[in-house]
Symmetry: C2
Subunit: 403 residues, 2 copies
Amino acid sequence: MKICVLGGDGYCGWATALYLSKRGHQVAIVDNFLRRQWDFELGVQTLTPIQPLADRLRVWQELTGEAIDLFTGDVTDYEFLSSALAAFHPDAVVHFAEQRSAPYSMIDRKHAVFTQINNVAGTLNLLFSIKELQPDCHLVKLGTMGEYGTPNIDIEEGYIRIEHNGRSDVVPYPKQPGSFYHLSKVHDSHNIMFACKIWKLRATDLNQGVVYGTVTDETALDEALINRFDYDDVFGTVLNRFCVQAAAAHPLTVYGRGGQTRGFLDIRDTVRCIELACLNPANPGECRVFNQFTEQFSVLELAQMVQAAAGKLGVAVKVDHLPTPRVEAEEHYYNAKHSRLLDLGLRPHYLSDSLLDSLMNIAIRYQDRINTSLFLPQVKWQNPHNTLGRTVAPAAVATPGGD
Amino acid sequence: MKICVLGGDGYCGWATALYLSKRGHQVAIVDNFLRRQWDFELGVQTLTPIQPLADRLRVWQELTGEAIDLFTGDVTDYEFLSSALAAFHPDAVVHFAEQRSAPYSMIDRKHAVFTQINNVAGTLNLLFSIKELQPDCHLVKLGTMGEYGTPNIDIEEGYIRIEHNGRSDVVPYPKQPGSFYHLSKVHDSHNIMFACKIWKLRATDLNQGVVYGTVTDETALDEALINRFDYDDVFGTVLNRFCVQAAAAHPLTVYGRGGQTRGFLDIRDTVRCIELACLNPANPGECRVFNQFTEQFSVLELAQMVQAAAGKLGVAVKVDHLPTPRVEAEEHYYNAKHSRLLDLGLRPHYLSDSLLDSLMNIAIRYQDRINTSLFLPQVKWQNPHNTLGRTVAPAAVATPGGD
């Protein structure tokens, strides 16, 4: 298949592009390198020394003989996006090209507005360009399990049958997102569902859990292909951050009691889920939702697993309970369905001792790059005006509807 | 009370500002006159000859002795909005300042993106400025009944208790909006609900039905105070449009079979509902939702009522069934609850023969201003690229997050 990966220079996007290329698909990456710009803005860097994309792509081609096309530009620029799609003519577009950090969106008003405009306008542009240029192309959109929040009932995959006052209907599952970023994904989901309805587009909305791990078979081929490993309080995901904290013999920073329960998955399952969605496209007019995770854990359970893994390596770390910077339930019911990707053939990499060992080893290998000042949360949800010290303005907001 | 009306130069906003002023509240209007600009863009004008806002306000003060403050600017400009709120220091902000036409949002990509950015960024700015400047101020936000779509179960007021797999929770009512405009209101509702949760703001989200009528006690005081009366296919609401069509002896343009059922209300009830919401504010942290309409009708029922009213005036009009330009169910279940405003004391003006007579009389009085070329729908939902002939680009999109 011809698959276009928007945001293919990012954490999930890079691993996905290589995996799809290795599996014989013809791959193009679209990226504007805004993720790298945010590292400069926040004064942070990935634990692993990632290479410029041009170098990554050159090494990949040298090692595998597979070329990956590159279109450099911004999906909020409709003329750029539509010309890239017209040139590549994909069967599927995988859309990772969004601002994906909840804390980043909660820094202040400018970051909140930027996140929502960037994500919503980019996705609207994509829907219009698919409709105009290639209406049969399958949109594979990354949503988030965070769209659902933590309701006191089971979380279904996108839709729920409601019996009410003697009548019944299947309706979109009610959303209770927990940050301006998560809200942007909810807005996207509503827009995509509507576009499928009126234009008979095909879409799969993948509500992904929290991703951990960094190594995939493809990125392991050469150090020049190494993936991002974010551990800072803004872009770091929780399990990756705990491993780096352990490698630095720093207490693991659990927010509140740590009963916050979420769905998690290994990045090797992320890339496989994307391929499964592409190989089994939605029907015209269908907006399908898959919950993309493999296991549920509470944050405290993860901390205790990392503590044990570190102990095996002779590193004693304690677990610190910090006041949560978010507004969230610290203990709650959580039972989210996730059978549809399994039905398509996903064989999960469950979180194991050996995976934790490997993550710890990566963290130890690059421990001279660890900046321990990035561990503690600085963005507080109740403060509409966080000053991180290291933060300047977000990248200029494009004018997606104008010009 | 001190009440700030954002969008106070528009159809509902103007009637609301005068009503609140007459009732003894201290009123300020914030407006950027974009609604008047859209008339130029689309080559349309209101049936009634509205006066410049400065003249309207001067006449109001001469007649009543009541001054209404005016802040001219755009709510997507945070510095402007926050300085206006800081200067006026309102107890309640009534937010009408959004692009409110479904067909306008469906013209093409630029109008869709403009509508969502304008509405979402404006409301985000308002939430941040209330939090920063006056967190006790009550936000009264105009949503729309169109957020709910037409589910096959009863529509509740904002929230619904779901029993599922032996468990139970009260969650936001699932939304299935029918245009990029209606989607923008859904996005707003989610953002407002979240802001109330994290910052303990007070908000009332008024999901308003389709408004009809133009005369209120206040606008009737002098012709210089006359309100808008839109009948074109883009901004005209259905009952007003039917009356103007009847006055021109033009067939009434029912889309499809006409079984589309919606909630409706008289503009005299709109203004009272707004006051009731202001006088009975939400609690801190509460995001309340009221369904603001008084009666349900199908479009065909309305056409038949107008046909009968016209017949009494000796005007014979027929009802034309045009292919619907929208993507919508032409027959469906519809039962929407609307008791909360009644509980607060609303005494509805139900649609009556005398009201229809009065609407017909207005339409006849201004019939030399009727442009019959504006009656037929030109914006088709399935076409991502409508060319109205009379349409140019939308007003430049502001850069709400940048600079």
